[in-house]
């Protein structure tokens, strides 16, 4: 039985296969509407994250499955004070697969050790959010047709942004990827990510403070939010905040087929004037997030896509004759 706890739990090949299924779903969602009939997804959300929970629930409902769960630990006296290990043992009796969101880092890993059903990490504190990473990878692959051979600019808060660290780790496994890390000095990628991922794998990267200076090199621009509370003083924040807001004029030098990603929700780091630009891919991400979660549920439940299942049935009927 497989779980998805860390974005690197899947090999490059497994991710390609997963994204292939997600692409199939995107092409013909109707064909998948009964794949999970009779199956139940438990959404165990110990902290509120409506966006992520709805995406999981939509994914399971689109596959014809059922959903049960709780949306915050407060609303569920049953799990308050109970260990994660005990909760998952119980939930294993009610559901076929579960998605767990927890404010404590490592909670889904702990759950997976006691679970009889596949566990999906739906975000554990500031640690990992692997389905966000899969969504990013799907969006990049759909826009670029491949995950290798790209120059990706990561812009904004690269210090605390977990989606950024996961994306760096995941993309560092592909050939020909170059990173341009665009951030203020205070919010640079932590040294350990540079040492243990980029240096260790010999992945080329440069650090920059100004996105306009590197814009013409980028195939992907991944925007994140620069939060006020990350700065030591108000002046630094005021001085820097506009530097990390994407506006149409900053896009002047960008490649015509560059793709702009953002893990949403955005506040003001991408001007709404950019939304109409064909390079804006961030609203596709929400849609891709549902497709990739559908593909993930199928993969972990070891369910084949209808086309593949039909081909296999056809083959066995032939053999039967």
């Amino acid at each position: 039985m497989r779980h998805l706890i860390d974005p690197l739990d899947f090999t490059v090949e497994e991710i390609e296969a997963l994204l292939d299924v997600a692409d199939e779903i995107a092409a013909d969602r109707q064909a998948f509407r009964q794949v999970c009939q009779g199956k139940t997804l438990a959404t165990l959300f110990y902290e509120a994250s409506t966006r992520t929970r709805l995406s999981f629930e939509a994914a399971m409902l689109n596959l014809g499955g059922n959903v049960l769960g709780f949306a915050t630990a407060d609303s569920s006296s049953a799990v308050k004070g109970e260990s994660v290990a005990d909760t998952i043992r119980t939930v294993s009796c009610y559901a076929d697969i579960c998605a767990m969101r927890h404010p404590k880092e490592g909670a889904p890993l702990r759950a997976s050790r006691f679970s009889r059903i596949p566990v999906i990490n739906a975000g554990d504190g500031g640690h990992q959010h692997p389905t966000q990473t899969l969504t990013d990878l799907m969006t990049i692959r759909r826009r670029r047709k491949q995950l290798g051979n790209i120059t990706i600019g990561l812009c904004g808060d690269l210090k605390f942004g977990r989606t950024v660290h996961s994306l760096i780790k995941s993309l560092a496994r592909y050939e020909g990827v170059k990173f341009i890390l665009i951030s203020p000095e205070e919010l640079r990628v932590p040294d350990y990510v540079i040492e243990e991922v980029l240096w260790d794998k010999g992945v080329p990267f440069v650090e920059a403070e100004d996105m306009e200076l590197v814009m013409d090199q980028l195939d992907i621009l991944y925007m994140t939010r620069v939060q006020k509370e990350r700065f030591f003083n108000e002046e630094d924040y005021v001085r820097l905040k506009d530097t990390y807001i994407l506006t149409p004029d900053k896009l002047a030098a960008a490649k015509p087929d560059m793709a702009i990603l953002h893990p949403l929700p955005r506040v003001n780091e991408i001007s709404i004037d950019v939304d109409q630009d064909p390079r804006a891919a961030y609203f596709e991400q929400a849609q891709n997030g549902v497709y990739v979660r559908m593909a993930l549920i199928m993969m972990l439940l070891e369910l084949a896509s209808p086309a593949a299942a039909m081909a296999k049935d056809g083959a066995s009927i032939k053999e039967g004759r």
Binding site: S83, K104, E105, G106, L109, E195, D200
Partner: protein, 148 residues
Amino acid sequence: MLNIDSLERGIVIDHIKAGSAMWLYQLLNLDRLECTVAIIKNARSNKLGKKDIIKIEGMLDINLEILGYIDPNITIAIIDEGKIIEKKRLVPPETLRNVIRCKNPRCITSIEEGVDHIFRLTKGQNGPRYRCAYCEQEDQGQPEKLLK
């Protein structure tokens, strides 16, 4: 100076960083032993300048995992009939189970009952480091975190 020959049968923990022997003595629960234990402080060493040595009379299982984590330069010699019969080289263990505690207040190990504290070895530019298996926080190496 005392030397190994004075031990007929037992264990010599050598090349301990000078000044750490008493701490190791506590850590390895040697205070609970009935047998003779000698702590030699500030012995001369070609390699370290100064070093500490612990000699234990009789055979017992030393927690090599803890020693490998604390300082892989420590050497261990098993003595029988006054001779070294075995030298154990320490390596930083791949996994530390219930040796150190994760200090990250956001880590599941801070609230979950009955959870094992597991750290895994990662190789950085500045030598081996340990990260919590749950939250990946790096071990800061403070000895007071050691579980006993």
